[in-house]
């Protein structure tokens, strides 16, 4: 079997002492980031990327570290959901519904163990799905020409705007802002400067890391300062940790169902982990014989969203790695990491750099086992972290994000730009305008334009080339459908507000 050979290569890469150490460090950091309210997977990874880059880690090592953080944050989010009734990050929102009531009934430890196991099942099956599906999809991706890629990028924006936001027009505005910012700088085709207004700083274009850390991390600082004292949390004591075998066995099918739903939500561009956990929870509630027990501490209500969000996290890596189109906010940030490391995701990644891809996959398998150990027997350590007071935590997070950007260029201009993005992001957050499309626009803008222009070169300026293959027509239909359909479905399903991942 070819897959096993490739996995062998991957494990050889992942099991070097350096990469193994990074995976463990990433898991610990990630669980902490996930557990702390206000720091989620997308801003946690965003803060750490400039640092990973300044440290001079090679591509595989940086990816191993960051994806471990990513998986870890998905595990960690549930901890404060269950103990404090505050989601540690966005995808863990649904876990508060039954996790906190369960904790109040004195079953905090059970809820933590159960959700830890569900996270493990979800993430593990999703990683296996990634192993099977990604090489297949990367073969299909060879069929993509410039016109198809253009339609694919459009699809990513449309589904992101359609499915993951509350207002299509605002998502479109956000996407246009991101794309518009991407145009600033030198035009790759003609070498002329565009929209720089004579500024030398802008000639190189806007550094997407500056924008990402600003929009995610600095915005979060402002939101945190504003909401200070408004969230009153009543913590729940954590008793002795035992393994609730009976609940685990009773919820085994819930785990599988949550995983399947989450995985599909993750693979679709634009959906991501928040939606994965939301859909898994609502589906489980809908098929239950006793839906009224949900919301009152039902173990299934803890298991379904956790399996769903971790499966979605794995699934979202598939379009990012094979097509270069991220399926969620955090994978958009991971795409930024790849681009900083000069790795072009897409089908060629699987043939040109099997060490990177399979090293990453092996590292994910290892990270899952490490995370299970960290999140079940050692969960008490992370519970302690929740008691770090905000007046220490917030300045620390702010300073770390500043050092990250500062260490890249040492320029005040970049820091000011980051603060500007942070302030802008805060205003957008207030107005319910999603920021993920902006990031996606900045990341993909130049690729999108290149592909459009290349298609026009091929056709000699004939626009019909955009709809010349079955594949591209299908993508256009999916894009328009993904953007328009939620307008009609919105009444049917009440989504949680504000999805950042």
């Amino acid at each position: 079997m070819e897959v096993f050979d490739l996995l062998g290569v991957g494990f050889a890469v992942a099991l070097t002492p350096q990469n193994l150490g990074l995976a463990v460090a990433g898991c610990i950091l990630g669980t902490m980031i996930g557990a702390l309210p206000g720091l989620g997977p997308s801003n946690g990874v965003a803060i750490l990327i400039p640092l990973a880059f300044s440290l001079g880690l090679d591509a595989t090592a940086a990816l191993v570290l960051m994806t471990s953080v990513y998986y870890g944050a998905m595990y960690g989010g549930r901890i404060s959901s269950i103990l404090l009734n505050i989601p540690g990050d966005e995808p863990a929102l649904m876990t508060t519904l039954d996790g906190y009531p369960m904790a109040k009934q004195g079953r905090a430890a059970d809820a933590l163990v159960l959700s830890g196991v569900a996270s493990f099942v979800g993430a593990m099956i999703a990683t296996l799905g990634l192993i099977l599906l990604a090489p297949l999809l990367s073969k299909i991706a060879y069929l993509f020409g410039p016109a198809e890629y253009f339609a694919l990028y459009l699809l990513a924006f449309c589904t992101l705007g359609g499915v993951a936001s509350n207002n299509q027009a605002k998502a479109a505005i956000a996407a246009a802002i991101g794309l518009g910012l991407a145009m600033i700088g030198l035009d790759g085709n003609t070498g002329m400067s565009r929209l720089t207004f004579g500024s030398l700083h802008l000639l190189e274009g806007i550094d997407f890391l500056v924008a990402i850390v600003g929009l995610f991390a600095v915005t979060e600082v402002f939101v945190f300062i504003e909401s200070q004292g408004r969230d009153s949390a009543v913590g729940v004591k954590l008793g002795k940790i035992t393994i609730p075998y009976r609940d685990i066995i009773a919820t085994r099918w819930t785990m599988v169902r949550g995983t399947a739903i989450g995985f599909v939500a993750g693979v679709l561009p634009g959906a991501g982990a928040s939606l994965g956990s939301f859909l898994a929870y609502t589906a489980e509630k809908r098929i239950a014989k006793d839906p009224e027990s949900f919301g009152k501490g039902d173990p299934r209500g803890v298991v379904a969203p956790e399996a769903g969000n971790n499966a979605a996290a794995g699934g979202a890596l598939i379009p990012m790695l094979t097509l270069g189109v991220p399926g969620s906010g955090t994978t958009a940030v991971l795409l930024a990491l790849l681009m900083t490391l000069n790795i072009t995701p897409g089908p060629t990644l699987f043939t040109d750099r099997p060490d990177v891809v399979w090293g990453l996959i092996a590292a994910l398998l290892i990270a899952n086992v490490v995370l299970l150990i960290l999140n079940v027997p050692m969960v008490r350590f992370f519970v302690k972290i929740l008691s770090v007071p905000p007046q220490i935590l917030l300045p620390a997070v702010t300073m770390i994000s500043f050092v990250g950007i500062y260490s890249l260029s040492g320029s005040s201009f970049d820091l000011m730009m980051m603060i500007a993005f942070g302030t802008f992001g805060y205003a957008l957050r207030k107005l319910d305008v999603p920021t993920v499309p902006i990031i996606l626009g900045i990341l993909l803008g130049n690729h999108m334009e290149d592909n459009l222009r290349r298609a026009m070169v091929i056709s000699g300026g004939d626009w019909k080339i955009l709809f010349s293959s079955g594949l591209s027509i299908g993508l256009w239909v999916a894009a328009i459908g993904g953007f328009v359909a939620p307008l009609f479905l919105r009444k049917l399903m009440n989504k949680p507000q504000r999805i950042t991942d």
Binding site: I225, P390, A396, F402, Y406
Partner: protein
Amino acid sequence: MKSDRLFGLISLGVALAYIASASQIETSFIMDPMGPKAFPIIIGSVLGLAALVPILRPDADPQWPDRSRFMKLAIALVVLMGYALVINDLGFLLSTTLAAGLISYQISAKAPQAALIGVSLAVGLYAVFNLLLGLSLVGLPPFLGR
């Protein structure tokens, strides 16, 4: 209502300005059928069209921070901007102590504690980044000479 209308109007203005400046982009002798102007103009048009929706059909207003919270935010913003401006001149330790301390004070309003947090964060992060992670942040103010 008002917030969304204002946001839409600003976006519309930005879109028009963007299209105007995109149409000024110089073309060069190397030309592809689309050229460097078309895509920015398309983006500007999408922005302009989408901006009409919040003007015509605004969402309900969000809860904006009250005066005291707004002041806190404004001070935090000024502190961060100050930090960005002085970090090169004052070095990492001094500027981080100030910035971290002030932000901490914004949250807890306990001056001695905030000062302590500022100093320990500056020293702690400096140690972690420079000694453990191998970055080379300039610790002391450069004008002191080294």
